[in-house]
């Protein structure tokens, strides 16, 4: 019972997180490609309720930013003019969930651009880019995990059900794939595919690469379940009234693998999102101008950025709540000693 409540909690949290990213257009004040080259690398802007004169405003506001006298890259707030933060504004055009064309955004401002998380080298709003980038990264992780699980089930079920040479071959192959250091394998595969491709092709390419590398472990787990399910009496009984292999697999055996598959999905999705981030960060993934969490971090490879523009690191943190959600889900599914939950006290202390 406790387990089911915990499960619902994690699922809800994940759904909320994914929902925010899915509706990136609404939550983001600007189009992620919108540039402002005059004012690059703006630091995050603060929201105030009390202005420089000590007056309390009803509506939250922010200050426009101007260059500090005598400096090239130091900015300060021009406290003379408070600019109100507006909610449910009309802004850039986008399609909600890819379907509904609209122009409504959660918040925005009129005369000046507001950058809650700062802006990058081209003056593009980081918050917007993070939200839109999440769509790509998460989708890559989900699709990659889907591909891996599909391959894993295919291989594992074939090996487990038919046995014989198929089993031997696939399991040797799985051992090989599982034995190689995962990231090196990923890179090796990526290495030989075309490097400079369009963002769309790159996206599907890395899904293919990520999905093709990680199938070994799910395959082994599925094989184990199929092996034991195959020997069940109800399977024998069904064979006894003439069921074909296909029927047995479909109706009796594969449903037994559902819990393994779900647990693996919860573990693989965050790993694959991370893989996309790593590849894109290093320039092997989705290229500019399409934002992904990975290539948003690419600028951090420059020392100057590391030193002066710390807000360019924030996209890295975007994945953390998702990791938390998926890991929590995985451990509830797996019934491990969950995150922070310790059930029993041991008798060691009573001796």
């Amino acid at each position: 019972m406790i387990q089911r409540r915990g499960l619902k909690r994690w699922l809800l949290a994940l759904a909320a997180l994914h929902g925010v990213v899915a509706c990136a257009g609404f939550f983001a004040p600007y189009d992620p490609a919108e540039q402002d080259r005059e004012r690059p690398y703006l630091p995050p802007m603060k929201i105030h309720l009390v202005d420089a004169q000590g007056l309390h405003h009803l509506r939250p506001f922010f200050y426009a930013v101007r260059l500090r006298d005598g400096s090239f890259d130091q900015f300060e707030e021009s406290t003379g003019q408070p600019l109100p933060l507006q909610f449910f504004v009309t802004g850039a055009r986008y399609r909600l969930l890819g379907l509904v064309p609209t122009r409504l955004h959660l918040f925005g401002a009129q005369t000046s651009r507001i950058h809650l998380l700062g802006s990058d080298a081209y003056g593009r709003d980081q918050l917007s880019r993070i939200l839109y980038g999440g769509q790509i990264s998460l989708l890559a992780g989900l699709l990659g995990a889907g591909l891996t699980l599909f391959l894993g089930v295919l291989v594992g079920a074939t090996a487990g059900y038919y046995g014989g040479w198929r089993d031997g071959l696939f399991m040797r192959l799985a051992e090989l794939f599982a034995a190689l250091p995962w990231l090196y394998l990923l890179f090796a595969l990526r290495a030989f595919l075309p490097l400079a491709v369009s963002p769309v092709r790159a996206f599907f390419l890395i899904i293919l690469v990520i999905g093709a590398v990680g199938w070994a472990r799910p395959a082994r787990l599925v094989r184990g379940v199929v092996l034991s399910a195959r020997e069940r009496d109800f399977v024998r009984a069904a064979r006894g009234f003439g069921a074909t292999d296909g029927y047995l697999l479909r109706r009796h055996i594969l449903p037994e693998t559902s819990s393994v598959i779900l647990t693996q999905a919860a573990i693989l999705v965050p790993q694959f999102v991370l893989a996309e981030m790593t590849l894109s960060f290093l320039g092997l993934g989705v290229p500019e101008p399409v934002p992904t969490w990975g290539n948003l971090l690419a600028s951090l490879q420059q020392y100057s950025v590391l030193l002066s523009y710390w807000w360019m690191y924030v996209p890295a943190l975007a994945i953390v709540p998702f990791f938390l959600g998926y890991l929590g889900l995985a451990s509830t599914l797996h019934q491990d000693a969950g995150i922070g939950k310790i059930e029993r006290t041991s008798s060691w202390n009573s001796w």
């Binding site: 009496d233 109800f234 006894g240 009234f241 003439g242 069921a243 029927y247 009796h252």
Partner: protein, 269 residues
């Protein structure tokens, strides 16, 4: 009466590969021969490991014997290829020992009982459901429970479901592999009575595998005693139980808990 099933010199060898690849041959059946008349019940008794289940699986075409023949309704079936066996299988059905394992817990009662019809693909969905409901009624499962999942039934009810499922394809021979052993005593009585009813109603032939001599005495016309892959004693049930010839039969009889009727010393179920 006609012979429904005749088994001649059936042998089944298994190969077990040891740790370092050494192959060991295990002989589960070493030349078994017997026959069952139509509409009668043959009880097959023996200790664990005597080969009873292997024999059952071979007759039900779930395993292939290494040599020997199985003649069902005058036709040899053991040597047939897989597809042809599929046409024979409906007529020989198996009821397993443990209904918790032989029924898929995720299936509903209706699904379980109609599964053989679904697999054989001969009826429409409507017909399947009607037949399944009729079968449920025949084994005494109330109609309201038709859509309940298998794990919501008691042990005895599950075994009824298993029997109903076995009857779905209108078999001629029903092999009951320790079908009552996992049930409580009182439930055993109910189910065995159901079996007797069904036998006379549908003209079934039973091969009743058990280690429980009392049950064998209650249900069977003939008894065959197995030991280490061979049949060592075969005959009408009363004769075998009263004057057993083989040591193993005597051992089995001695081991059976008896509520003796002082008059004739027969084991009473």
């Amino acid at each position: 009466m006609e012979e429904l099933l005749k088994v001649e010199n059936l042998e089944k060898h298994y190969e077990n590969t040891g740790v370092l690849g050494t192959k060991k041959e295990v002989a589960a059946l070493r030349g078994v021969s017997f026959s069952i008349s139509a509409r009668s019940t043959l009880a097959l008794v023996g200790e664990s490991g005597s080969g009873k289940s292997t024999l059952a699986f071979c007759i039900a075409c779930l395993e292939r014997p290494t040599s020997g023949s199985i003649i069902f309704r005058g036709e040899e079936i053991a040597a047939r290829p897989e597809e042809e066996q599929r046409t024979v299988r409906p007529k020989i059905q198996l009821v397993f020992q443990d209904p918790t394992r032989s029924l898929n817990p995720r299936f509903s009662a209706l699904e379980i009982v109609s599964e053989p019809l679904l697999v054989q693909g001969q009826c429409s969905k409507r017909e399947r459901e009607d037949k399944a409901r009729a079968l449920l009624a025949q084994v005494g499962i109330p109609q309201q429970k038709a859509l309940h999942k298998a794990d919501e039934f008691s042990g005895g009810q599950r075994q009824r479901l298993a029997i109903a499922r076995a009857l779905a394809l209108e078999p001629k021979l029903l092999i009951l592999d320790e079908a009552l052993s996992a049930l409580d005593c009182s439930v055993q009585a109910q189910i065995s009575n159901l079996l007797l009813e069904l036998q006379s109603l549908l003209g079934l032939t039973y091969l009743f595998i058990t280690h429980d001599l009392a049950m064998a005495g209650h249900l069977a016309d003939e008894i065959a005693v197995m030991e280490q892959g061979k049949i060592v004693e075969l005959g009408p049930v009363e004769k075998v139980l009263r004057s057993p010839e083989q040591k193993v039969t005597q051992r089995l009889i001695m081991a059976t808990p008896r509520l003796t009727d002082a008059a004739d010393g027969l084991v009473v179920a």
